[in-house]
Symmetry: C2
Subunit: 272 residues, 2 copies
């Protein structure tokens, strides 16, 4: 089960870092170079990171060869024992949501996690949640994102709660359906908003939190301790460009060292 | 430019129908049968529908062969002169949104339209809007969706306006940036909520509206006149299963006849 497997790796490797893979063609001389570099960075970081998060947008932007590379990345991650979070932010209604769930939480992706968007309503999360539960995977529901303008809708006050708080309560409710312990329904909460972390952590006690924003987006690892549960579990923090493209010369060793630096900075924050 | 090309086709063919393509493997004996049927339905309906809307979820659920089929569908639609709305409901931040925009509004998809999700904030719509404007394409922003539970977030009252109304006002603002006339920023408003159509039509006077919900979702064509602008332009109504799978025997002629029936029902509503 994704959430438990992730928790085990967090403790085993003493790492709360999620390796984001956003392969950017403008950084490479050819598609083949991009492919090799992406797979090498994944392998080099496998013992440093708790999980890996391929960003579907960057693979889609590479066309069919990109989608084939995504499958290779996922297969290699599975072979390395790394939990995979497919960052697709999918969301749709009825049988269309079921099709997305089959695509990214079933088949070869069984046991993986998918990020999902709640704008279409809470019922539209259910096909994803049901497939994740059936396949031992997980969903991460967008609650409060890391970008500067994320408050336009998420932070609107609607009666006694903000929009994002209502989503957080639904994440908590879905978690409770599974009994105690880590739930297959996680949440995305931006690492760039440290003042809100304790609040969202408390609203969703069983959810694994995915915190994007380390590295290029400038989140401070030292401020992220409130996102974690006692024992330093229950959350992972992702960096993408800041690892794969840490070095302008694209040294894979430099990428691994950047990951190791993030890993240690996150652990130092928890030790304080 | 997408919105003008669509308007021209609406008037030329006297059709406000959008052909949704949601290829379902359980309806076919093999992937090859699904492929042939999808392309034949597209060709058979080409003179009956104003545009075509492939639902990305169903192609993704078919894996790499599905993504290759999507490209064939889009190429055939272009060859037939049909405007294409890629129904992907994408949404992400910063350079990730740019990657999605390149993937689905650039390259071979230049001049096409993409459905986008506003939950991450209005700034996150801009990479899509800018790419659509640069390539002569369009975006359709999710405003008010057709599913029963769509009100969980969209209908929340946040100060003087509902969440969906705030999104509608941003769609209108982006349209105004382009001067008068049809804008490259359209909106999705469910055909299943006829009582709200006049309101959202008035909030977004320059936006082309995409109304899903005809056929399987049960929207009544007779109630949809308020979604249109004077002259019967400014909106298209989509049906998917109700066309491609109208006939249990998968007759392509029956699919074309179902499309013709929807086309006439929509025109009758406008004539009343």
């Amino acid at each position: 089960m994704f959430a438990l497997a992730l928790q085990e790796r967090i403790l085993q490797l003493n790492s709360r870092l999620c390796l984001g893979l956003d392969p950017r063609p403008e950084k490479h001389r050819s598609f083949e170079d991009l492919e090799v570099h992406t797979l090498e960075v994944l392998e080099a970081c496998a013992d440093t990171v708790a999980c890996v998060k391929p960003q579907l947008a960057f693979f889609e932007a590479l066309g069919l060869p990109g989608m084939a590379l995504l499958e290779r990345v996922c297969a290699q991650a599975r072979a390395l024992g790394l939990p995979v979070i497919l960052d697709g932010k999918r969301g749709d209604i009825g049988s269309t949501a079921e099709a997305y769930a089959r695509a990214w939480l079933g088949g070869a992706h069984a046991g993986s996690a998918l990020t999902v968007n709640p704008y279409l309503g809470f019922e539209t999360l259910l096909p994803f949640v049901h497939e994740a539960r059936a396949q031992g995977g997980a969903v991460f529901v967008l609650v409060r994102t890391s970008n500067p303008g994320s408050g336009d809708l998420q932070n609107l006050e609607a009666g006694p709660a903000r929009v994002a708080e209502r989503v957080a309560r639904e994440v908590a409710r879905l978690g409770l359906e599974e009994g105690e312990g880590p739930s297959s329904v996680g949440a995305v909460v931006g690492a760039t908003r440290p003042d809100e972390l304790a609040h969202y952590r408390a609203l969703m006690p069983q959810a694994t939190l995915l915190l994007p924003g380390l590295g290029a987006q400038g989140a401070d690892p030292a401020a992220l301790a409130p996102a974690f549960l006692p024992g330093g579990v229950g959350a992972v923090v992702s960096a993408s460009r800041g690892i794969q493209y840490a070095d302008p010369q694209l040294s894979v060793r430099a990428a691994q060292q950047a990951a190791e630096g993030f890993r240690q900075a996150l652990n130092a924050a928890l030790a304080d």
